[in-house]
Every structure is written in C-alpha cells, then in structure tokens.
Symmetry: C2
Subunit: 225 residues, 2 copies
C-alpha cells in the first residue's frame, strides 16, 4: 500500500516557483488498475515519482507500507523499491551499453535471483512484450516502441507488487499497445499486481478500474468504476 | 521534392541481417500532409531518416530536389537539411544545457538569421505550441510532453519547406495534440509547408491527405484521399 497525505512538490522559488504537485492525498491499494490522466504538464510524472519514492515531497507525507519515507534512509527506500516497485520511465532510461536482455535482467541480479531463474524470466518477459529474438540488441539498435517495451519488461521481470508506468504505450501502435495491456491486465488479475499508469491513452483509461484526473498539479476528480 | 527509388536500409549481416527498409519508392510532393503508419518496428523512423538525408541507404537512391544524395558531400547534405528540412525526433534530441528558447533558436543561428528576427520567431513558436513563459527552462525542467513540443517548435522555427516529424504527439494528451495538429495544418495550408509524419496517432491519420502503410520494412499501401 502506498499512501500520500497532502503531498506537494514545488520547483524553484519566488518568481520562478512551479507548483508541480499540489496537496495530493491518495491511497493506492493492492490489486488496483489505476490511470492518472490529465493535460501535458499537469503533474502526472511528478506524482508518479513521489509515489515510487524516487523524489521527495516539498511538504506532506509519502508512506510506503505504513512507513513515512522521511524516516527511511536512502538505502532503505532503495531496497524497498528494488523489492516491491517496478518503474517504467517516460523516457525509458535504458542502459545504453547493455543489451535488452541485460537491461531486463539487471534488477533481478540486484535482488540476488539465481542465474537460470533469471534467464528464464528474461525470455518469458521478452515473449510477453513481443520482443522474442531481439534480446541481444542494444537500445540504439531498437525502434522507439521496441525500447519502450524493453523498459516495460524490465519493470515486470521481478514480479514486483506494484508497477508504476509512465505512459508505457505512447510509442506503440494500437495492436501492440492492446497486446501489452492484455498482458498487464492478466498479471493484475492472476498475481494481484498493482498497476498505476500515467497516461494519455484511451485504451488504458477504458481498462482502468480507477481514474485519477489531474489539472495544474491537483487531483480534480478520483473515480472508481 | 524528396524522392526515394527502391531504397533499402539493412543492419547487420548474415545471421543478424535486419531488413529495416525494403525496396521503398515514394515521392514527397510540396504541400503534402502525409502520415506513415504501421506497427512498432515496421521501419517508419528508419524511412524518415533516409528521406531526411540523416542516414544513407544500403541500396537504392534518395534524391533531394533532384540531386542524388550519394553525389552530395556531407557538408552539402547538411546545408540542404539546414535550409529546407525540419526534423522532429522520436526521442526529441534536445540539447540538455540549452534552454527551450536556445534550443529553438539554434537552427536559425546556423542559418544566419538576425538576432531580433530570431527572438521574435522563438516567441511566436513557443506560443504556437502552448509553451509561453516556459522558454527559459532547460529540458530536464520540463514535462515529457513539454519537451516534445520544444522539439516541434525547433523544427518549425525556421519555416522549412518540409517537416519530417517522428511521432510528434506521442506524449501529448488529446486536447494539446489536437491544438498542435491544427497549428501544423494551418502552416501546411497557408505556407504550403510539407509535413510527413511517422505516427500511431489516429488524430494525425484522420487529418492526413495521404497514408503510407508500412509492414516489415515495406510499403504495403499508399493511399491519397
Ligand atoms: N542499429 C540497428 N541494428 C539492427 N536493427 C535495427 C537497428 N536500428 C533499427 N533496427 C530495426 O529496424 C526495424 C525498424 O526500426 P524503426 O525504428 O524504423 O521502426 P519504427 O517503425 O519507427 O518503430 P516504432 O513504431 O516502434 O518507433 C526494427 O525492427 C528495429 O529493431
Ligand atoms: N525541474 C523542474 N523545474 C521546474 N519545473 C518543473 C521541473 N520539472 C517539472 N516541472 C514542471 O512541473 C509540471 C509537472 O510536470 P510533469 O512532468 O509531472 O507533468 P506531466 O503531467 O507528466 O506532463 P506530460 O503529460 O507532458 O508528461 C510541468 O509544468 C513542468 O514544467
Ligand atoms: Mg509526464
Ligand atoms: Mg519509430
């Protein structure tokens, strides 16, 4: 469970003060399939980073499994993320010198998962996102949408409790995007994996069980269906 | 006018041979508003780079205004691009140490456009893409969709004859994307600016006067409407 209480994230100060996230209080429960939607610049990525412990709030509290992250050391937050959270970045953030397989495998290495189990999971993931046979390519040898899918596979590979995905279908055609969403919906229903998306994609919105609308940093609407 | 004749672009060789673009012959006429569509990995970005002279074909000919680029020096191709082509990259490729304004202004500097004219054009562009007041921010101080719009503004700023845009709305919400497309449609109709998009976005497809479908590197359908 991840909880934010009156969380704010401001950048700059005085004349240049930017209120990227303004007084957001939400609770993410296990098993959710939630989409955060809103205009470009409304604070979706910033909120997702706060929820994932990748950024610290200017004010307010973020709780990971009941513990205020302000009371956790950098190492403790890092361990929590490694063991419980998978993050798909809007710009993918793949490691350029590693192959797709190595990028996907990386997190499981950090988690101490054994070699054979790791390699098997990597192959499963490549298949799930439709990239079989492309595993040995480096990111710059892949198309934009293929890189995006490596980033998604990397987040899912260690079967984390919660996946925070920042616009994971932005560079995918309709058919590939739908296939990916079906995989995620399936993981959500069979493994109770929580998914929180920041997205502009109608296909994700229509599959979401909860829609959080943002505008100018604030949550203006939070509907469960 | 940009023309490709039986153009191929292959990567690797032997076992690892990838036919990214296979025997494509198309002519881009002035004033077109064309969308290249197809599944992730089908060759859209690769074709766009070949058309823009940013990449060399493995075989076949690319002609820029009647001249085979194989007969042009690197400097001549570079000058042609600077003077006639605006490119929006799928990953934006903004210069991290420059502000949004400086990123947009850069090409006009290279073209020797005078200071006051440049600065005025930069402000017009920022306004056209909905980023007024964000000009002094650096890319890492902007949201994904805001960075994308800086990349678009940069391509349009020098009023090139032709704009090659690789998924320019991928990270934009519907409303912002439509506003951007209306701006492009307007430039196309009032300035006869040619637009060739690589896209997965239905909104671009519906506005296009020509749809080029790609699959596995080949053009499988080329319809004008
Ligand atoms: N340097 C490279 N080495 C090997 N294969 C490559 C290289 N660059 C691209 N490819 C392959 O060429 C094919 C076409 O890539 P391209 O980037 O043009 O696709 P695309 O249609 O733009 O896809 P997307 O919609 O995902 O952006 C892909 O299968 C890709 O993996
Ligand atoms: N380092 C920074 N300094 C100043 N402002 C920032 C910084 N980072 C982000 N912002 C601003 O915070 C606001 C929210 O950004 P965020 O990336 O969360 O938006 P978003 O909803 O994800 O947008 P998009 O849909 O375009 O990805 C934006 O207006 C952005 O310009
Ligand atoms: Mg974002
Ligand atoms: Mg592409």
């Amino acid at each position: 469970v991840i909880k934010t209480m009156e969380v704010c994230r401001y950048f700059g100060e005085g004349e240049t003060l930017v209120k990227a996230v303004e007084q957001v209080s939400i609770t993410i429960e296990p098993g959710e399939f939630t989409a955060i939607i809103g205009p470009s610049g409304s604070g979706k990525s910033t909120l997702l980073h706060l929820v994932g412990g990748l950024d610290n709030p200017t004010s307010g509290v973020v709780e990971l499994s009941g513990t205020n992250i302000a009371n956790m050391s950098g190492a403790q937050i890092s361990d929590f993320r490694r063991d419980h959270i998978g993050f798909v970045f809007q710009a993918y953030n793949l490691i350029p010198v590693l192959s797709a397989e190595e990028n996907i495998e990386y997190i499981m290495l950090l988690q101490g998962i054994a070699g054979p189990a790791r390699r098997q999971r990597v192959q499963e993931m490549l298949e799930l996102v439709g990239l079989n046979d492309l595993g040995s390519r480096r990111p710059n040898q892949l198309s934009g949408g293929q890189q995006q899918r490596v980033a998604v596979a990397r987040a899912m590979a260690s079967h984390p409790d919660i996946i925070l995905a920042d616009e994971p279908t932005a560079n995918l055609d309709s058919k590939t995007g739908i296939a990916l969403l079906d995989v995620m919906k399936d993981l959500n229903e069979t493994h109770n994996m929580t998914f929180v998306f920041s997205t502009h994609d109608e296909k994700i919105m229509s599959r979401a069980s909860r829609l959080i609308h943002m505008e100018d940093g604030a949550v203006v609407h939070d509907e469960r269906r």
